[in-house]
């Protein structure tokens, strides 16, 4: 059975909430939680960590005596310490009215997606006042309004009446999340359950929200249950950790002990999959590219200095070993006068008055991997799509091997289309559910019109083989595949035409961290094997040293930093990059 977190982390008297042998099953009888235990102490934050499907949200909601439609409580207790008297109460044996009294009062909840959880037809001030009224906080309305202003200040929002009268849609994502926290904090709860409250926020906002939560927990002695999949965030906020896998807690303990001396093999595997900014950890089996394999040759790679002046040549330690052997044959006709394979010049794009991309200059040499880093709204996906010809409304030029390409993919020649391939962010969206794997992967071959049916089948099988999927996958449909397998299929589709440039748009952001590691691993291997150049678009700076030799930082449609990955990370030139690096949670 699972490890008894309660015994290892808290003394019997210190806890404010204790879950014991909590079991939850679907109405159909399938067990979701197999009897897990954990305990929360005032002023401390327990992080419940797990990948998708581990049951962490179900466990969090159970603390409030809430089970989503289709789920039922099958065993175990949740004891919460009584507020005014000795002893404790089992939340799960309370009737609905009793649970209601606790919810929002003694135990509160901060939801994952504030955009969905705030009532769009109610002003934010009223939504917070509602919880105060329901729990009879204060004697008069004036007192409650005073609390409302106070709690808004506590979470770092404006507290004037005009702000209170705003509608949820008039706030940014980060502000909405802080309203959610204010609502949870309004009645001064003893326990706060936070369900991935920073997912979907950019790192700067995430840092602010984490700071707010940490401050509140410490200042007001609140016990926190922080549900997350992000181990770096855990290191940042938690005092204790419980690691969940498929409905069980497999390891629990002090944050330092679990993160730095993990006992359970799953924890170790999870930790080894987490990318780190320093690139010390090796995620996957292939070594990080940056240090050992500077593909940009110090002697011929002058292209660098033209795009990023002032950059020193890559570290002298770089040997030629990694120079992509496979591309050498294609090299002579594959580059332009400056030695660049792909070059983007003064690319601009605006929607109305909104300048999405503002004069982008970028170049990729053969076999090179470049990371394009940007937060949501920076224009990174738009730029990637302009290069791939999926967005033809831009000004400026995209050239491949010295030839300027038409803007739209339909206006490019077949061979130009073959040479630039694009992998989409979500494998749940990029494969038609009604096509088999073979049917999806053969589309590019079919469109080239050069191959017979049998040839296509062989090439598809080879493509799947390249992404470590066997021929048994040929006739499956996406519905029968996991997220990681789907992304491999999508990569195979991009590879069958042997591209010279692969554009990867946030290809790992929809995947769990361990799957992300395997995909990164695969991409690196493929790049070495085939010698293609790669533009890896992401918001996750921690991946930088694991995938790219050079790093371009995009902010509001402009490239603000560009250079060899290590140099940019260690010596960021632009204030934005400096700020990003300062806010990245790390372990």
């Amino acid at each position: 059975m699972s490890i008894q977190a309660a015994e290892t982390t808290t003394t019997a008297a210190g806890y404010v909430l204790q879950a014991e042998n909590l079991a939850v099953a679907t109405l159909g009888g399938k067990e979701i939680l197999h009897g897990i235990s954990f305990a929360l102490t005032p002023g401390r934050v327990l992080a419940l960590v797990g990948e998708s499907g581990s049951g962490k949200t179900t466990a969090g909601l159970a603390c409030l005596g809430h089970f989503r439609t289709g789920l039922k409580h099958t065993g175990g207790t949740i004891e919460i310490k009584n507020k005014y008297e000795e002893g404790s109460t089992d939340v799960l044996s309370l009737p609905e009215t009793g649970r209601r009294g606790l919810r929002g009062g003694s135990i509160s909840y901060v939801p994952q997606d504030p955009a969905l959880s705030l009532n769009p037809a109610m002003r934010i001030g009223d939504q917070i006042l509602e919880v105060l009224r329901v729990h009879g906080y204060g004697k008069t309305d004036a007192e409650r309004r005073e609390r409302l202003a106070g709690v808004l200040t506590d979470v770092g929002l404006a507290n004037d009446t005009a702000y209170q009268r705003r509608w949820p849609h008039q706030l940014s994502g980060g502000q909405q999340q802080r309203v959610g926290i204010a609502m949870a904090f309004a009645c001064r709860p003893e326990v706060m359950v936070l369900d991935e409250p920073t997912t979907g926020l950019d790192v700067t906002t995430q840092a602010l929200v984490l700071q707010t939560i940490h401050g509140l927990a410490e200042k007001y002695h609140v016990a926190g249950l922080y549900i997350t999949h992000d181990l770096a965030v855990v290191a940042e906020i938690a005092d204790e950790v419980a690691v969940m896998l498929s409905g069980d807690v497999v390891e629990a303990g002090d944050v330092k002990q679990v993160l730095y001396k993990p006992q359970h093999r799953y924890t170790r595997k999870l930790l080894s999959a987490v990318p780190d900014l320093a690139g010390r950890r090796r995620i996957g089996d292939v070594t990080a590219i940056t240090g050992d394999m500077p593909v940009v040759d110090p002697e011929t790679g002058k292209a660098n200095s033209s795009v990023a002046p002032g950059l020193a040549a890559p570290s002298a330690g770089g040997k030629h070993t990694a120079a992509p052997a496979a591309t050498s044959a294609a090299a002579p006709e594959g580059t332009d006068a400056d030695g660049n394979l792909l070059s983007v010049k003064d690319l601009r794009l605006a929607y109305g008055s909104n300048q999405v991309l503002d004069g982008i200059d970028l170049a990729l040499t053969e076999g090179e991997s470049m990371m394009l880093l940007g937060e949501s709204g920076s224009g990174k996906t738009t730029l990637a799509r302009c290069i791939a010809g999926l967005n033809d409304t831009f000004h400026g030029s995209v050239s491949l091997a010295g030839t300027e390409l038409a803007h739209g993919t339909r206006d490019r020649t077949a061979s130009e289309r073959h040479r630039i391939q694009y992998v989409f962010q979500s494998p749940f969206s990029s494969l038609s559910p009604r096509r088999t794997v073979a049917e999806s992967v053969e589309v590019p071959l079919l469109m080239s019109g050069k191959y017979s049916k049998a040839q296509r089948r062989t090439m598809v099988t080879e493509g799947l083989d390249q992404v470590r999927l066997g021929a048994s996958y040929l006739d499956r449909r996406p519905g029968q595949l996991s997220g990681g397998e789907r992304q491999r299929v999508a990569i195979a589709r991009a590879l069958v035409n042997a591209p010279s440039v692969l554009v990867c748009d946030e290809v790992t952001s929809a995947l769990d961290v361990s799957v992300q590691a395997s995909i990164i691993d695969l991409l690196r291997t493929l790049q070495l094997d085939t010698g293609m150049a790669m533009l890896f678009v992401t918001h996750n700076i921690a991946l930088a040293r694991h995938i790219s030799q050079r790093l371009a930082v995009l902010q509001k449609g402009q490239i603000v930093d560009l250079g060899v990955t290590g140099d940019v990370l260690e010596n960021p030139q632009h204030s934005y990059t400096q700020q990003l690096l300062a806010n990245v949670p790390s372990m």
């Binding site: 909601l61 009294g101 929002g104 939801p111 959880s117 037809a121 919880v131 329901v134």
Partner: protein, 317 residues
Amino acid sequence: MLKLITRRLLISLVILFIISVLVFVATLLLPGDPARAMLGQQATPERLEALREQMGLNEPAWLRYFSWLGGLFVGDFGASVTGASVGELLGERISASLVLMVAAAVIAIPVGIIVGAYSALRRGKAGDHTASAISLVLAALPEFVIGIVLITVFSTTVFRILPAVTMSPPGQEVWEYPAQLILPVLTLVLVVMPYIIRMMRATMVEVLDSGYVEMARLKGVPERQVITRHAVPHALAPVAQVVAIQLAWLAGGIVVVEFLFRYPGIGQALVDAVANRDVQVVQALSMLIAALYIVVNLLADIVGILTNPKLRTESAS
């Protein structure tokens, strides 16, 4: 917000205008000569010519269109094949039909909304299953089937307590014999209500599963307040749409029901006019019903704008 509503209003007017063109052009396709149709085969060429002149048939089509359209605005709907003014012919019938429609709407809308909401709140329980099954069956049945079943049960074979057809003599108001209204109204209610029930249920189920309703529960808000403050306001706009469609449907469905019960309303008039190829009457009634549809839909759109703070605030700034 005003800008948004004005825009909808303008679109509605344009649609109404296009419909008027369509309705008018349709009559141009009509084979034969309206003047001959009125005067019969024996008419002399002189008389035909005189009538054509009088009816404006010699004018170009677009001119006739505008004089027809102008007439609609001042309440002149043209003349029927019988020579009588269409406006006079329909005046009484319109009020008779309105009685039927309003009575059906007043019953069907609130009952439909309440039953639908009840179903959603008791999802999966016996009451929900019963309501869903009944509304599913009723929604499938054409109105004349429901009407005939009601007649069979209440006025012929089983009970014989209600009149099967309208009895009031011409010239008398239909509501002076309330008993004769019961079956037609009940038929319309049974036809319209299932859609409102089903839509209300579906909308409420969706709203009850939403993040903000779950959040309200997790804040400890009492269930009654969760429903009245957090769920119902979001269900109003989609239900207003369905109610609008159903009201508009009433305008069409009333044709069959009036014919079945020999009720002296516009539906009956329309069927007679079609059988007699009385173009002016068909035109006038088509325009009337289309106008009703557009007005009701416009109202539903306005409800949608008013209940959505995003739409309400966006154009204000």
